[in-house]
Amino acid sequence: MPGKEIIAMLLAGGKGTRLGVMTDKLAKPAIPFGGEFRLIDFPLSNCANSGIDTVGVMTQYEPLVLNSYIGNGSSWDLDRQNGGVIVLPPYLDRKRGANWYSGTANAIYQNIDYIETYDPEFVLVLSGDHIYKMDYSLMLKYHKEKNADVSIAVMEVPWEDTNRFGIMNTDKDDRIKEFLEKPEDAESNLASMGIYIFSWKYLKEYLVEDTRNPDSSGDFGKNIIPMMLEDKLSIYAYRFNGYWKDVGTIESYWSAHMDLLEENSELDLYDRDWIISSVNPHLPPIYISPDGDVIHSLVNKGSQIYGKVEDSVIFFDTIIEKDAIVKESIILPNVTIGKGSYINKAVICQDVTIGPNCKISYGTDEHNKITVIGEGKEIPEGTTIDTGFELE
């Protein structure tokens, strides 16, 4: 098979524990986002738009939805004769036996054979759970210009948040001198975005080396990058200025959706030059009835609005019955909100039915917490659920 200059390896095994009931049956990259997408659509579309046509997706936790969603990759134009997208679950090896992916680097290590098929010069390592639009070909150009062995995409974060990220200390040429995981007193506010370009010959060497160490957790941030820094490899920070969000918690998931409602949202989903693709279900248009009312919201196809929707994101195939009020909420696909029900600051997961006259996230607390109703729940008529509740 002809070789490839660069291929992408996408880490999609994340549990997303901090998302609570949302990830009960779903790997984090499969979480629905923005009324239309799943998180993994962002890196996959970025790859396709950047001209990277070979992507290995490493799945491990609750892979069913993710596997069937990715399918043959045609939704992202990644169904290719040579390359394309392929799902790479852990497997039983003749010598090593059965191994789960123990860490981010270990997952790549276990797929060395796949990578070698394409004999790539560079490997792009991505994670499947961030929201951003990025042209990886520019990062590759930078990587080559700097003659780097490794490039790590970074962005400036507020100084008070530096203790939540992997922080890079660089010299004036942006060469990385030091990498600190969640430091208390950071010297720099350049945070790693979990996007790496490696020159494959070095990465392979270090992956093999790392597996010889029984104490290693097989992780890029904890093991591989520090090892490479110690050996004085040339590692550069690639600065990114656009919108980037890790929707790792219910609060950040909710606020990322509220960001989308802004008229000139930083994350422009309507940009036809950088289309975020997704698997499109075949559904009829949006219907808003003569009594329906939609203000400051996103609504997707197949949804029927007979009630009132305000400051909310409504995914596809959802019914909001007459006299129902939905405020500051995120309603995932295939949900029914019964007549006269009131939903405030809530995330309603897929396939939920809320009966008539329910009150969800009902409370007088000023700092209303977000209520989450887990997948497939049926809420009987007249139920009241307090603010901040998580219903499994």
Binding site: E36, Y270, P284, P285, H296, S297
Partner: protein, 370 residues
């Protein structure tokens, strides 16, 4: 239904659709916010289990071919059978004056011969409905008829152009069938969907060609009314007859009735080429009542009793009523539209007023800036 093939006859007169067919064929007229007319006959066939479908083309078919591509959306990209584009006669070197759709059948007769199926469904793009052919084919076989024709009983028939109307006897045998006739005394309209044996279709084509007759319905069907046993099959679902701008406009607006759109769009899935559009955005100042909208629209104005196709933009202060806005059209600030059809990519600059009449909507052609 493995033994049934489908032919969609898009080699038809289309001038009655005026501006809408200036740059496209009948089958690719945009319809119902997300669809084109071809999606309905094509999805109906596929939903009934037909996996060999040919589409007869005559002219202006670029947009149609772009829309259907290799037929992947309908699962018709197959190794065996699948979707067949059947080009017009002139591509076979026959550049004489166009005589009629029998010519299109005849130029593609090899495809019909070669298909392995014994039965054929012939359909047309301008009758919009959501039906299952399985019952119709079953009824056809049971009745022993030579041809089964699908019809609908209508309380009133409005526009006569290109409509075939019929009478049946008490056994549902078709006794009269007329095209473009005076509608008085008739209340049954043909959906111009026919089921017959493939052998009979080949016979009809051969006979018409040998006698110099070129109209499939007038010569092939009506011409054989006495000789063949033609049965009517009553259809009771919603039906849109798209045979004039007025009927197109009225039926699109009728879709705003949930009973009608649920019947047309949801009885069985209607497949269409999708475009990766984000959800539709409504802003803090938007006001929407009784609207069907596709994805990717940005609505900042006031919209009532209207249909919005993909990627339509309605700016602040604009008021759109009783109108159909096709893909990527834009209505500027404070402009007002009533009874208007905007074709694709039309731009209405700010502060404009456009209005048509209920029975005569104003149409703005594709790519026009006003």
């Amino acid at each position: 239904m493995k033994n049934v093939m489908g032919i969609i006859n898009n080699a038809q007169k289309e001038d009655f659709m005026r501006e809408l067919t200036e740059i496209r064929s009948l089958a690719s007229i945009p319809f119902g916010c997300r669809y084109r007319l071809i999606d309905f006959p094509l999805s109906n066939l596929v939903n009934s289990g037909v996996t060999n479908v040919g589409i007869l083309l005559e002219n202006k078919y670029r947009s149609l071919m772009d829309h259907i591509g290799p037929g992947k959306v309908w699962d018709l990209d197959r190794k065996r059978d699948g979707l067949f584009i059947l080009p017009p006669a002139q591509v076979y070197g026959d550049n004489r004056f166009y005589k009629g759709d029998i010519e299109n059948f005849y130029s593609n007769i090899d495809y019909i011969h070669r298909s392995s199926q014994d039965y054929v469904i012939i359909s047309t793009p301008y009758m919009v409905c959501n039906l299952d052919y399985r019952e119709i084919v079953k009824a056809h076989k049971e009745s022993g008829a030579d041809i089964t024709l699908v019809y609908k009983q209508m309380p009133t028939l409005e526009d006569k152009s290109t409509c075939s109307i019929l009478k049946t006897d008490k056994n549902n045998r078709v006794t009269e069938l007329k095209v473009n006739s005076d509608l008085k005394n008739y209340d049954k309209v043909s959906l111009n969907k026919f089921v017959m044996k493939k052998e009979l279709l080949l016979e009809i084509i051969d006979e018409c060609v040998s006698m110099g007759r070129w109209d499939f319905i007038k010569d092939g069907i009506i011409g054989n009314l006495d000789r063949l046993n033609i049965h009517g099959y009553p259809f009771s679902g919603a039906l849109g007859i798209i045979n004039s701008i007025k009927s197109y406009y009225k039926f699109n607006l009728k879709l705003l009735n949930p009973e009608i759109w649920k019947d047309i769009f949801m009885t069985k899935t209607i497949y269409t080429k999708s475009k990766d559009e984000p959800p539709t955005q409504f802003t803090a100042v938007s006001k929407v009542k009784n609207v069907l909208a596709a994805n990717g629209c940005i609505v900042k104005g006031h919209v009532e009793n209207s249909l919005l196709f993909r990627g339509v933009k309605i700016e602040k202060g604009a008021v759109v009523k009783n109108s159909i806005l096709m893909q990527k059209s834009t209505v500027g600030q404070n402009s007002r539209l009533n009874n208007v059809i905007l074709d694709k990519n039309v731009v209405i600059t700010p502060e404009k007023v456009l209005r048509g009449e209920e029975n005569f909507p104003t149409i703005i052609k594709k790519n026009v800036v006003i």
